[in-house]
Symmetry: C2
Subunit: 232 residues, 2 copies
Amino acid sequence: MRLIIAECSVTYTGRGDTILPRAARAILLKRDGAVSIHSDFGNKPLNYMGKGNVHSVSTDDEGATVWTFDTRKESIRIVLHDVMTDSDHLLAELEPGLARDGTEPQLQQWLSDNPQTFGVGWTTVRREFLTGAGPVDLLVLDDKGDPQAVEIKRIATAASIYQINRYVAALNEEVEEGDPAIAGIVAAVEFRPKTVELAAKFGVRLVTIPRALFMNVAPPVAPAAGSTSSSL
Amino acid sequence: MRLIIAECSVTYTGRGDTILPRAARAILLKRDGAVSIHSDFGNKPLNYMGKGNVHSVSTDDEGATVWTFDTRKESIRIVLHDVMTDSDHLLAELEPGLARDGTEPQLQQWLSDNPQTFGVGWTTVRREFLTGAGPVDLLVLDDKGDPQAVEIKRIATAASIYQINRYVAALNEEVEEGDPAIAGIVAAVEFRPKTVELAAKFGVRLVTIPRALFMNVAPPVAPAAGSTSSSL
DNA sequence: CTGTTCATCTCGTAA
DNA sequence: TTACGAGGTGAACAG
């Protein structure tokens, strides 16, 4: 990765049009051709362009170096008024990449393997059980052997309640006369506001699953003793 | 801005949980406390945290320096196995910030000032004209003096068509018997696929406005002759 | 302070 | 290639 610290001004045109007045900033040029211009505030770059661009170098009428990055649809023009540092660094050629933990698929798998979470004697029938309204995440049998439908989310919202309602309605349309109606459950690590009261209104049961139960890697330990800290 | 190039591994827990295996990466520490970890690919940081965190420094059991960044809800732990470079750079203390051009408000203003864009003799009645379905961007009179409703977007999508339809329907509910029905127009710089046929289906007129017409700053010139270029 | 909408959204995945 | 939905979405703005 090439890192440039420079007084620069930038114009971008493409999906939008922006102008960045002259100031000292950091410019990141990455191995895949991606370029981003960072100020000293915030995580998002002020301007950026992904890989797959053509990089041209020229000089403007005041003698400043000008970099342009072009794709078919976009263009960034960086005028380098004053380059303070320009360095190249060898990073990982094959970035291992970010591994997510505590994901919804993991939670699905864990609940499928641990149906007793919903109650003693409960068993799993099937994951991704197809209903007339689409596949419901999990179909389980309660301690009386009656089926219940489970919608699984990492974070449940009001939309999750409507979703399980659609599945339950579709399932109950096919229930035989006299058989007990299928009930709905939403299982999640976290429930957003308004979800709880909406669930109560529709008779949907909510089950909270602590993420520690189904994560592959244990959550990090507390900071070590004797550490120095600074707040901002 | 402090720039660190280092072999590092990272764990994050908060809104999600992620693990980043050991590899050489760039770490950006910004003036406002924001921190981001970049690989040599893509514009998005692998891990990041905004301002307003507490930064602690400690040492793990293998003697490696460990940085943690904590807020009430999130935590990043960076293990610095091998620091290759660590530099500090003075950037703009007051970032001028990104100025946008060719925005939707600009387009609204320009169309309000140039209703003849829709046809000879057309005039503007009002911007943000309130209907029973919310405010429509622009209400104009055509050359016959009949009102038409205009929805303005930088990029129009199918949703824009449904939106103008709601406004037009609300307006026509209040039209006197015998008066002509109000028609709908969508004006935009760009129309996404499916938008055109949907507009035809509902009888909505589409008007394309070249961005050069209403931009404050002219689009950048073509690359200078004699420039060197490299494609990726 | 929360909630809603916009973004040069980015990024994945399925059709 | 395009359309659709999720994101550790972030950021601006209204209530």
